[in-house]
């Protein structure tokens, strides 16, 4: 009987386990997870903070689901992998053999080395324990400071504001998420935050987190200003947890490098999810994504291949649908903006390196209030889009971008100043979907 060992109990590992089980009914599947809460929706933590969903609702799999898959979930940290001997070693020193191994260890928040960063009340949002800690602190804190950029920083801002905490959001640059959003989009988000009572400080950089009896008491900015607060929440980026793979001698870049079959440098070892650095056929480069659906698709591909199938992972156009200051926002493909984002270090949560790629494209846009569409048009194709507010066109746009729709018939219309982009797209979509009807875009 073959034994499959998965390190990491997140969506990539679960998807791999499901795929293995489908291919190989009689095998043994062991899942090591150091997270005491096991498998839950990590992006859902943001809604736990706002109070839209209770904690117990965040677990997609019941004990029965685990039994049905005949998975053994072991709450241990894997401390080492011995590739030659085909064993993993737990933190307690127990050795467990494998025939095929999956590394799906995810990513972790990067904490900047600030004076005072170890004080109680300095938080991040990686996992359930962090979310619990934040909720507990929010009960006592009247004021909090949030530092960072990207989606998670805003989720922290909104979650804390929803709990009645007065939030001071510090931006190092002059606007929010400037490598992905354009000026108008940043302004829409910032205005909405300010309407909701969030105080935004631009060009603000923390020099020191101030403490009192081991607890956060405030922050001192580089310009000397002091903001009193009981909490400092940090979301400046994440880093793939590649330490285990690196120590084992596997080929790594920024993450664990894998081939088109999610296989690492060792034929019996695979990697998937946030930790995997995959080849992107569209750009010809290797890239990191920190997206839930992507982690699931990679996990599934890895699982099938671990069980002997020949199933290449084909990276698709990355998409995320999120809320930025309460405004539903879909980000698809290459939408990058020139310049540097001082608020983030590399990749953040719910992010794709592709989005920051500067496309050689012209922007077409409509709407400057809450509802807005920005298209990036390169030649005959739309290569990226940001849809804020009304989401009617978000699914059609994803399909047209992923399916590389030839938009030549409407290109000029779209690029005309003041063009009614939504109407043009809606009409074009009706035609295109009929022509393209039989070609389904799978992910």
């Amino acid at each position: 009987m073959k034994r499959y060992v998965m390190v990491g109990g997140g969506v990539a590992a679960l998807a791999a386990a499901e795929a293995v089980r489908r291919q190989d009914a009689g095998s043994e599947i062991l899942l090591f997870s150091e997270d005491p809460f096991g498998f839950y929706s990590r992006p859902g933590l943001a809604y736990l903070l706002t109070g839209e969903v209770p904690e117990k609702q965040l677990f997609p799999f019941s004990a029965q689901d685990f039994r049905r898959l005949r998975l053994r979930l072991l709450h241990h940290r894997v401390a080492a992998v011995d590739l030659r001997a085909h064993v993993v070693v737990t933190a307690e020193g127990k050795e467990v053999g494998y025939d095929r191994l999956l590394l799906a260890t995810g990513s972790s928040a990067v904490m900047p080395s600030l004076p005072g960063a170890a004080l109680e009340g300095v938080v991040k949002l990686d996992d359930m324990q962090d979310a619990r800690r934040i909720l507990k602190l929010a009960r006592r804190a009247r004021r909090a400071v949030v530092v960072g950029g990207g989606i998670t920083a805003l989720e922290l801002v909104e979650g804390l504001a929803a709990r009645g905490v007065r939030v001071h959001y510090l931006l190092r640059g002059e606007r929010y998420w400037r490598r992905v959003l354009d000026e108008h989009e940043s302004a829409i988000v910032e205005r909405k935050l300010e309407e909701d009572g969030v105080r935004i400080h631009r060009h603000a950089e923390v020099a020191e987190i101030l403490g009192k009896r081991g607890r956060v008491a405030g922050v001192r900015l580089k310009n000397g200003e002091v903001i009193k607060c009981k909490m400092v929440a940090i979301a400046v980026g994440v880093r793939p947890n590649k330490g285990l793979a690196e120590a084992a001698g596997l080929r790594c870049g920024r993450g664990v490098l894998v081939d088109a079959f999610m296989r690492t440098g060792d034929p019996d070892v695979f990697a998937a999810g946030d930790v995997a650095e995959v080849y992107d056929p569209l750009s010809g480069r290797t890239v990191l994504d920190t997206l839930w659906p992507t982690a699931r698709t990679q996990g599934r591909a890895a699982g099938l291949n671990m069980a002997g199938a020949n199933h290449p992972y084909r990276r698709k156009v990355p998409i995320n649908v999120t809320r930025l200051a309460g405004i539903t926002t879909t980000i698809i493909g290459t939408v990058g903006q020139p310049g540097a984002d001082k608020d983030t270090l590399g990749i953040v949560r719910g992010d794709s390196e592709t989005w920051r790629t500067l496309p050689d494209a012209i922007a077409a846009q409509e709407g400057f209030e809450v509802n807005r569409i920005r298209l990036m048009i390169a030649g005959r194709h739309i290569v990226g889009a940001i849809i804020m507010g009304n989401q009617l066109l978000s699914q059609p746009l994803y399909r047209m971008i992923a399916g590389q729709a030839d938009i030549a018939p409407v290109r000029e219309q779209l690029l005309r100043p003041g063009a009614p982009i939504a109407d043009i797209l809606a009409a074009f979509w009706e035609q295109w979907r009929v022509q393209d009807g039989n070609r389904t875009v799978s992910v």
């Binding site: 969506v11 929706s41 990590r42 992006p43 859902g44 809604y47 839209e52 969903v53 209770p54 609702q57 965040l58 677990f59 997609p60 839930w292 659906p293 698709k316 998409i319 649908v321 999120t322 809320r323 539903t328 879909t330 509802n371 009304n390 989401q391 009617l392 066109l393 978000s394 699914q395 994803y398 009614p420 939504a422 109407d423 809606a426 992910v443």
Partner: protein, 92 residues
């Protein structure tokens, strides 16, 4: 979106309420469970989204709570092909 578009959308939504079922788009889903949490009769909509299957549950009221509450636009109504026995779970 133009006013006309928005109006048509609203009309379509009402029609869907009468003869529709909920369909997930799982590239958007992050399994947060808000849909299942808000279903008044306890259908596990999230599970359908994980499996990529439409909610063909005869108990579904098509009340639209899950569609409206999903923060990521995963769920949408699709019209039941009333007279197509192959696609309509209530016939066939």
């Amino acid at each position: 979106m133009s006013l006309r578009g928005a109006f048509q959308h609203e009309r379509k939504r009402r029609e869907a309420l009468v003869a529709g079922y909920v369909v997930p788009d799982n590239v958007r889903c992050v399994q947060c469970g808000i849909c299942s949490y808000n279903c008044p009769i306890g259908i596990d909509v999230r599970r359908h989204a994980w499996l990529g299957e439409p909610v063909h549950d005869s108990h579904c009221l098509t009340c639209g709570e899950c569609v409206a509450r999903c923060p990521r636009g995963v769920l949408r109504f699709e019209k039941t092909p009333l007279f197509d026995a192959e696609k309509n779970p209530l016939l066939g």
